[in-house]
Symmetry: C2
Subunit: 240 residues, 2 copies
């Protein structure tokens, strides 16, 4: 029988037990994040089937058992890495577009930022995988909700700040942006297209998303909506 | 040494050699088509990794060696089956939309037809696979060219026949349709969405593609483009 005075794990002699728990949690988060970084890089380079758990462990300076401890399966790690990457690239794109002064520049900055990485193609691969692995669907669903939610908020802020007119309901605009991004990237990556070509195709497929209220000089198309028809229909007659 | 009078394969005693060659070609085409039918059904049901060459051979009442003879690899068969399926569904969608009397009905008929099958998701899986198998890219490229070419022709015919106004250049409209289809389906299949939900999301993301020249009663948004502004700007003032 062990004497009562032997310290338990949470009362370790290393000091304040709460501190020890916090330290363990923080180390766990760091390891998780390192594994996701390594996985993301290797999966994007080689794809799911050509990347093994031991490759990822080696890249993250970890043991294979740590991967199964944190993520259970290679597929779950793939989907989590892709979801994290997708949200990163979406935020980076919004950052890159913050200084745009016209709707066209805004869309162009978003598109160039998104097509410069292969994160959308990575995410699309994770979506395709999830179709056959519905146990991974909840994470994908949360990611898509955040993507659309954050996209809508960023777009609405830009519109309001500049006083632009969205050509369509902002939520549909934001959803269209990501649907088009996935469609164009999946198609373009299959054909080995360059970021430049992807960017041109995406801009072409997207078309205009908003106009300046003053009927911007470069706007080829202007819209008369129900709510805007009384105030802007006269301007329609002055367009060339 | 064989005597000179032994018939060669092309001079078989079965009759006219040209007839024999034609019969062989036709039997080959039929077998090829049967293998593609079986493969398409199994791949859509189970996905690439859960379907084996011998499963497909059994489904098509053929030998595994016939699959490798006609298609070389399972992946090549997957991509060819998906490409064929995609062109079929695109033609079926155009057929289903032929009788539409308004731009909205036309888009709705296309969307409902496309979301009722899993052919777009199957094609998207083939695109994702092709990214890592660039030897399969030429077939995918030809399929996408045909998809866009036939889509553009069908859309242009509809517009002209009914005298509709396309809100954007018809080629970009047709490309957008397929990019959105791929994006919405890849996302929706990952989340286990029903055909009805896919259809609603796709219509929402697409928005209006064209308007009737007479400013259709149900059109929420109407567009004044450069080329149309002189003839239709006055109609803009009558919208509610």
């Amino acid at each position: 029988m062990a004497p009562k005075s032997v310290p338990t794990a949470s009362e370790s002699p290393a000091g304040d037990p709460k501190h020890a728990v916090r330290a363990t949690r923080s180390a766990g988060r760091q390891m998780r994040s390192r594994l996701l970084d390594g996985a993301s890089r290797l999966f994007k380079e080689r794809g799911l089937s050509a990347t093994s758990i031991s490759d990822i462990a080696a890249a993250a300076d970890a043991f294979p058992s740590q991967i199964t401890y944190y993520f259970r399966t290679k597929e779950a790690l793939f989907v989590e890495a892709a979801c994290r990457d997708m949200l990163h690239v979406a935020r980076a794109a919004e950052q890159a577009a913050l200084s745009a002064q016209t709707p066209r520049d805004y869309t162009r900055a978003l598109v160039e930022s998104v097509t410069a990485t292969d994160s959308v193609a990575f995410f699309a691969e994770a979506l395709t995988l999830t179709r056959r692995r519905q146990d991974l669907a909840p994470l994908v669903e949360r990611t898509i909700e955040r993507l659309h939610g954050e996209g809508l908020r960023a777009y609405s802020n830009q519109i309001e700040r500049h006083g632009w007119d969205s050509l369509r309901d902002p939520d549909a605009t934001s959803r269209r942006f990501w649907a088009v991004a996935i469609g164009v990237m999946v198609e373009g990556y299959a054909m080995g297209r360059s970021p430049d070509e992807l960017s041109r195709e995406m801009l072409r497929v997207l078309g205009d998303q908003a106009t300046t209220k003053a009927a911007g000089d470069s706007a080829r198309l202007r819209l008369v909506g129900e709510h805007a028809s009384t105030s802007s229909s006269s301007a329609g007659e002055t367009s060339s």
